[in-house]
Symmetry: C3
Subunit: 356 residues, 3 copies
Amino acid sequence: MRFNHFHLDELAQLVQGELVGQSDLVLKGLSSLEQAQPHHIAFVIGDKYLKEALNSKAGALIISAELQSQLPNHKNFIIVPNPYLAFAILTHSFEIKVTVRGIERTAQISPSAIIADDAYIGHYVVIGEDCVVGNNTIIQSHVKIDDGVELGKDCFIDSHVTLTGQAKIGDRVRIHANTVIGGEGFGFASYQGKWNRIAQLGSVRIGNDVRIGSNCSVDRGALDDTILENGVIIDNLVQIAHNVHVGENTAMAAKCGIAGSTTIGKNCIFAGGVGVVGHIKIADKVTVTGMSMVSKSISEAGSYSSGTGQFETNQWKRTVVRLRQLADVPLTKLVKKIDHMQAQIESIESTLKSRK
Amino acid sequence: MRFNHFHLDELAQLVQGELVGQSDLVLKGLSSLEQAQPHHIAFVIGDKYLKEALNSKAGALIISAELQSQLPNHKNFIIVPNPYLAFAILTHSFEIKVTVRGIERTAQISPSAIIADDAYIGHYVVIGEDCVVGNNTIIQSHVKIDDGVELGKDCFIDSHVTLTGQAKIGDRVRIHANTVIGGEGFGFASYQGKWNRIAQLGSVRIGNDVRIGSNCSVDRGALDDTILENGVIIDNLVQIAHNVHVGENTAMAAKCGIAGSTTIGKNCIFAGGVGVVGHIKIADKVTVTGMSMVSKSISEAGSYSSGTGQFETNQWKRTVVRLRQLADVPLTKLVKKIDHMQAQIESIESTLKSRK
Amino acid sequence: MRFNHFHLDELAQLVQGELVGQSDLVLKGLSSLEQAQPHHIAFVIGDKYLKEALNSKAGALIISAELQSQLPNHKNFIIVPNPYLAFAILTHSFEIKVTVRGIERTAQISPSAIIADDAYIGHYVVIGEDCVVGNNTIIQSHVKIDDGVELGKDCFIDSHVTLTGQAKIGDRVRIHANTVIGGEGFGFASYQGKWNRIAQLGSVRIGNDVRIGSNCSVDRGALDDTILENGVIIDNLVQIAHNVHVGENTAMAAKCGIAGSTTIGKNCIFAGGVGVVGHIKIADKVTVTGMSMVSKSISEAGSYSSGTGQFETNQWKRTVVRLRQLADVPLTKLVKKIDHMQAQIESIESTLKSRK
């Protein structure tokens, strides 16, 4: 096992921050404020963490200029305008990376596949005909790369991933364990009560800097391709059906599911468990809150939701009883009727007054 | 890589369609109308695609008789009563199939397993004791077939599938990558605050012509078997719990979950993300719309739904506030009360009139 | 294939039950009442199963004392106070267990890994640097145990599981096929419209007697660890995000998803498909009903729910129309207004009466 060590000034340089304190302080890890020890660096991303920062044993802090002065008991800082971004950058320094290169002797690689010299191909990887694996790409053990699949450079493909359907994958793409890219889309023609399978002939195209979590399924298209544009990030257990098109830098949290032929814009954010029906279009910069269902196209940026919110179960049961009555209660008409009745009552009262 | 080429008359014969145009036209692929090139055949499945068809560069079109006359700029057609079904049939001709047969030398197969001579067993497949693999069945790389599992003929099992729990699988079954069949059901007896595992002794029985997507889990039964009848089709990331029984030709889209011991009828259609509680019965021909929860038995064919529909988030928040008040608003009584009040008002008004 | 046979008195002894009938009756399996044959033992867990028990062909019944007398046609019983717990215990006797020990010759194991002599390491398993596999632990085929992962004793890890992120796993832990433990958490810092990956440096800690189903994803922490305490049981296709903490003996049914940094108490029960947002706290002994969304902290034990319940689709559509009107209907005010109007009407009526 390898561990990474840095001096404080090295870390400050990596994030172009201002160093305050002991430049040769040795730091062996990033840590949360709470768990930090003197050989750790931690980060402070707002007022609300000041108290925790005061009590932290961290050897150094990544912090903004305005908050630094409020931590007199600390001596070592890296001052940056955006501590969270600086933290993100520094995680890469402390990450234990796969450094081995070359092809493990147990890998099965078709003679027609082209594997870059500085790629890593792990144990029991199987690579089919006409595949391409680009420079510095890491393929972990047990990955299956089926015929005609191409991978760019600097990718990371974790164990038990299945790449099939002649998927074409860009550079710096990360695909986590047990995910399936290019599996057959769910296409059937119903005829006389039976399902006739439509063999899926399209493929999957994945841009650069895409990240896909573990246990995801991204299906190949029926005729045209399923497409994930550059910079798309996807969490675990997400379903992307055939012919879906996801725009640049859109993010999907775990357990989202996008049905077939739906087009999603750029820079959208879908919280966990969101479902989107098929054959619709969603604009750029659309946020969808957790577990919502998107059942029709969205043409304007903004936030969208569904669901009832959280109830104590007995209260929820009473609410559901009312919901079941709701269909037969013409709410809008009722409000008008009540207003009209009030006017009538007032008119009656004034009549009565005048006749006193 | 192999590509498939056909003459137009060959394709017409495959779907028993009427050929119009150049019988020896060479077609190298099926395509969408939009992406088609002159060496592609495309299909038109209704009036609404006529404009796209007019502008398509496709070399030939699969079409119904009544629409063909409206495309004077096209010359080559296959005329059929059901173009979508014809398209489904032709996808099989253009599909690149696994043609290799035999057992890869890296496969580990128990001496007691029976493997058909014309099956294909891929690299690093592990097959346990007393397993059976039928004629012309394709087992892709890294599949695990645990002791006592039996597979019929003409099946396709993609990479990283785990077949365990002594599952018995019929003919022409397709199971996509990274799916688990026969995993242990989730059965525990609670006793003094702890969970006592119930070892699952039942199995899984899967009929003929069943299709299961990628990353699915179909658990073995507790005592009796979990059963998927003939013709069931299941999309990706679907959970079928122990002792579920799914009737013939029922279809489930991605991310459905069926809890234990539930029985589902024939020819049902569950849209994506549907959840069904345990120990209930669902009739034949029941449709459930996307992301609905089925919490009680359904005894009549028809369509069922739940959820609130899609809202802009601020509107949704206001709606949820009202929902929280709803439990304490006796809607039906209120409507009656309003009607009664209106009658009172009318009676008062008529009294006032009579006393004028 | 091995089968297990027992005499009735052996089984009675295993559950400390009272034997009634033929002590040397040979029993070859546990069965449901309905499917049981004379060589099977079945169990009766309440009045409602009495009729089925009367008609059952089971050779022996596990039953409580008060119910036994109501089954005069049966002769062989094991009488216990808690038949369901006794059944759970006996399933372990009839389970076909992995009995082989040692390391298959195709396993790839780093020289720095420590593997107990009586562990089983299946075909094509890959074990990295500094890993530990404890006594009597079973690692099925194709499992990947990445550098620095440690497993205790008596564990069962099924095929295609990926253990990474230096996860530390306790004793008697069962992890079912194709699950990923220690995958990278979904952490990104947004900067100028792009996502900057936060390399995840925390790990996963799993206690003793934890059970995780198939196709689950349990992510490693960002800095601190993701933690599953002793006795946690998790069904299939469940997502546990980075830095989640799940308390002892909490149970989660299939398709639950817990977002990052959420803390869940002890002895909670989440039904299938429950989603929990990130950064909240849930108390001990909280039950959440199926497919509910938990969007804020829960500080009191009890049951919680969300959703609309199940509707016939046309009724549902009418309900959704009303729901869309609900935001603009001030329900509570309306009720007060109606009450006020009624008071006015009554006052008017009494005025009219007095002036008669």
